[in-house]
Structures are given as C-alpha cells and as structure tokens.
C-alpha cells in the first residue's frame, strides 16, 4: 500500500481533510493515561477511522519512533515499533505481497503478538524433545553395535 506523503491524486500531505488527526492523538493520550493509572491496555484500529491520504502518515510522523522495533515473519511480515511516546506502539501487518492488511496503535507495555504463545511453546517442546530423542538414538547406536 502506498503510504508516501504526496502520491495520492493531488491530495497533499498538509491538507488535513478529515480533521481526524488531532482527535485521534487525544484518544491516544487518554489511553496512555489509562495504562499508567489502571494498567488497562487499548488498541485503536487505524482502518476504522476515515483518514484522507496523507493523514495516516502525519499521525505516524507525530508519534515518531522510539527505542524498540521488531520484525515478525508470520503469514507475511509485520512491523512492530514503540513510538517516541513510551507505551504507544504501532503494529503494522503486511501480507506476502508487502501490502498493509491492518495497522493498529496499541497502548500497552508489550503488544500481545510479540509474546510467545502457549500453543507454539507446546509445539516447540515436542519438537525439541523429538530432536533430543533422535540424537540419543543416534548416539546409542554405535555402542549397541559394539555390544
């Protein structure tokens, strides 16, 4: 998806057509306050809000980039980074064609998708156990032969 500032049909970066940029940033501010005071996390779906070409870029520019960024490779790439406002994360999911399929502002200490998932850990445990069992069989084989 094209996210460059000026590429959309003569709609320019500074036009602020929908006037939704400022209210959305206020929502982020309230969500951050709620995270600090109560620990409540929030997710804002950027696709659910009418934004003119260029306005999403402006939101991203204002939030900026902070200390942490991560790449996830699962059904296409995902980019997760903390903005310059600690606790405010941008999570962008891409498909295999590198098109954006969803983009969220997550106000949290750690986006859920970065955490290791129980089901994956259980599968990982089985794989590791299988590997070690195979290794043990291979190592035992010469001694069995010699015996």
């Amino acid at each position: 998806m094209n996210t460059s500032a000026t590429a959309h049909f003569n709609i320019h970066y500074g036009d602020e057509l929908t006037q939704n940029v400022s209210p959305l940033l206020h929502e982020v501010k309230h969500a951050l306050d709620s995270l600090i005071e109560t620990g409540k996390t929030s997710i804002i779906d950027l696709r659910s809000i009418p934004l003119a070409p260029g306005e999403e870029d402006k939101i991203l520019q204002i939030l900026g980039r902070g200390e942490v960024q991560a790449q996830l490779y699962a059904l296409g790439q995902s980019e997760i980074f903390e903005t310059q406002y600690t606790g405010v994360w941008i999570v962008t999911h891409y498909n295999d064609e590198k098109d954006i399929i969803s983009r969220f502002i997550e106000v949290t200490t750690m986006p859920e998708i970065l955490c290791s998932q129980t089901e994956d850990m259980m599968a990982a445990y089985s794989r590791l156990a299988l590997y070690l069992a195979d290794e043990q069989k291979i190592n035992e084989s010469p001694s069995e032969k010699s015996a």
Binding site: M1, N2, H8, F9, N10, I11, L17, T18, Q19, I43, I44, D45, R47, S48, P50, L51, A52, P53, L72, A74, L75, G76, S78, V91, H93, N95, D96, E97, D99, I100, I101, S102, F104, E112, I113, Q117, T118, E119, D120, A123
Partner: protein, 378 residues
C-alpha cells in the same frame, strides 16, 4: 514414498473424514501455521469486519474450535467475476487461510471433476452434511425459460431449490445473486431474479458488489465460523459491518462536498485538485459498501481515489440508475420494481411470470435510456 500406497480406499476415506472432523485450529496447526500467524489473521479479520480490536481474542478462541464446514458454490447467470475477485485476490495468505480451510465440495469453475462426477460430488455433500452445509450462490436465476441457463441439464431454479433445502444458510455473492444484477437490468430478457426472490425459508446473506470486495466474502464466512450465526444485516440483507455506511459517509473527498467544491468535468481544475465527483455522477451518497475504507487491490485505492465516480454497484438496479455519469440529484427514469417470486410458486409460475415480464419489458423499453456522449461530456 506415498503413505497411502498400502491403504485401502476405505481407510483413506476414513482418514479424510478424520481430517474433516478436525477443528480449524488443528487444521491450521497441521499446516504449520503458528499461533502468532493465527493471531495476526484474527487481528486483520477484526479490522476488516469493523469489529472492536477487543474482539480479537474472542475471534481467536471461537475460530480455533470451529469445524471445517462443507460449502457448495453454485454459479448461475454470472460472469465469474465474483469467483475471480476472491481467488485472484493478492492477499492470498489471509483470505485463503479461511478459504482453504473450508471444504469446498462443489464449484463447477474450480473443481477438477466434470459432468456426472461433479454432480455426484454435489449430491454426496448435500447428503452427508444435510442441514449443516453453507450454500454460496453467484449469478441470478432466469425464470422466463428454464432452458436459458442449465447445469448438467438441470435448470438454475431447480438446482437452487434442491440445494437450498439442506443448507444451514445461503450467501448470495455479488449483485446478480443478491438483487438480479446486470441480467436483471431492463429489459431483463431472461426474467432474472435474485436468490431472495426464490428462497424464503432459509437465512440468506447478500454480499453485493460487481464484484464484491474479497475480504467481505471471507469476512462473512469468518463470522459464520466464529459465532455460528449470521452477521447483523441491513434491510436488504447485507452485513452491517461492511455495508452499514455509505461510500459518501466514509469518502476522504467528503469535505470537498461539504464545502461545495466539485469537479465539473474529468479534466478541469476541480478534478485535478481531487474535488468531489458528485456532479460527475458519483453514486457514493446512495451506495452502501466498504470500498472507501477496505479499498481494492489490497488497500491500494478505490474508484473515487482513482478519480472516477462510484457506480453504485452494490445497490439493487444500479445498472438502470439513469446513467453512470448523471448526477443523482437529476431526475432518473422509473426503474421497474423487482418481481417477487415465492419459493413455492417459482416452478409453476412460468405462464404468469411470462406475462409479467412481457409487461415489464414494455415498460422497460419505454423508460430505458442509454448512456450517451452527452452524459459523458456533461
């Protein structure tokens, strides 16, 4: 080595049934799809279905436990654009995640089998999953003469009624199946009608569009798998999540409309500045669809963003709206109303329908106008 080499046909069939009985979560894990990938899919699904992000964990829990449903897809008077929209989607991994985990037991464009074998597959799926399978229909159904459109010698209306009998729900994909579409346009030479004109005793979801946005099709499937229920529908049977707001309401050019700034031609200053296309015939104010937010070609743009007015393709009778380039504030011709057929009466109503259609054709000819150069150069 082929593991099936030493198995009997009966054993292989049993294995296949075991495969079908797995939950969606088990199926995905067996395909090597991680829980993180699944969460990503659920996040994208919640976003496209306009659900609160708070629903993501609930969607994940419900989808993981869902069973692989049997789906029968019937194509009647259609152009295959709806199937193309879904199967040619660039977002292969996401849409197909759901599309590949359904058991698509009959789709005469996609399936390898043909003729008797294909019809046997449909009959077997209907018998084995009676009352539980999903029926997807694209294309309108001709009622003037059963011979206008047949599959394996079976008329469209007969096949629809036979297959609908055991369906848990029906999804009418595309404007043709939903409202008659282009075949239904004046003078409607085949007496084309929609699924809802014929079937009255089953839950029906209309997913109109010419074609519909692919994620809307998979979104509806996901909703059914997730909650085992139909999504909330508007007064003409469309899911509110996708069709709840007009193109105009969510159009990024709306502020120009509010300020009275309009493109008057396709090459004037207004057009170059990206002003509102209302005066060039944009049907955005009367068209309900998700194009303005979900967009096309994986979120690249939608017609208005490319400088063309909305045609209103997800609305009934959009083809007869008086001209694609004629502003909706201008008087339009009378559009003949959809003739309602009941399921019980459909098969036997040929004579009456013929008379109604002749009358309708006469009216349509009288009111029909073509989009001419005057409309284009307005």
């Amino acid at each position: 080595m082929n593991n099936n080499e030493d198995k009997t046909l009966e054993e292989m069939t049993r294995d296949e049934k075991t495969h079908d009985e797995r939950t969606l979560g088990e199926t995905l894990r067996s395909q090597g799809i991680s829980r993180r990938s699944f969460l990503k899919f659920c996040a994208a699904t919640a976003s496209m279905m306009a659900m609160s992000p708070a629903m993501i964990p609930k969607i994940a829990r419900a989808l993981e436990q869902a069973r692989r449903p049997s789906v029968i897809w019937l194509s009647f008077q259609e152009c295959t654009g709806c199937t193309e929209s879904l199967t040619r989607s660039h977002a292969a991994t996401i849409e197909n995640l759901i599309f590949n985990t359904i058991s698509l037991d009959y789709h005469h464009t996609l399936q390898a089998a043909s003729g008797t074998a294909a019809e046997a597959a449909r009959e077997a799926a209907m018998k084995e999953n009676f009352g539980k399978y999903l029926l997807i229909v694209d294309g309108s159904i001709p009622l003037d003469n059963p011979g206008y459109s047949t599959i394996a010698g079976i008329s469209n209306v007969d096949m629809l009624m036979e297959t609908a009998a055991g369906a848990a729900a029906i999804i009418a994909v595309g404007t043709c199946a939903s409202y008659g579409g282009i075949p239904h346009a004046n003078p409607n030479p085949t007496g084309a009608v929609s699924v809802t004109d014929i079937i009255k005793d089953k839950p029906i979801i209309n997913v109109p569009g010419c074609p519909p946005i692919p994620v809307v099709i998979t979104g509806v499937l996901t909703q059914f798998l997730t909650f085992g229920s139909l999504p909330e529908l508007d007064d003409i049977g469309r899911p509110m999540a996708f069709y709840g707001k007009s193109i105009h309401d969510r159009c990024y050019r709306r502020p120009f409309y509010d300020k009275g700034l309009f493109a008057e031609t396709f090459d004037d200053e207004g057009a170059k500045k990206g002003w509102c296309l209302y005066k060039l015939g944009c049907k955005g104010p009367t068209t309900y669809n998700a194009c303005a937010t979900t967009k096309w070609n994986n979120g690249t743009s939608f017609p208005i963003e490319s400088g063309h007015p909305c045609l209103g393709c997800s609305e009934p009778d959009f083809w007869d709206g008086g001209g694609f380039y004629k502003s909706i504030s201008m008087p339009t011709e009378n559009i003949t109303k959809t003739v309602i057929y009941t399921a019980a009466g459909a098969a036997a109503a040929g004579v009456a329908i013929g008379a109604i259609n002749r009358s309708r054709k006469n009216k349509a000819v009288a009111s029909h106008s073509k989009t001419g150069i005057d409309d284009l150069s307005k």
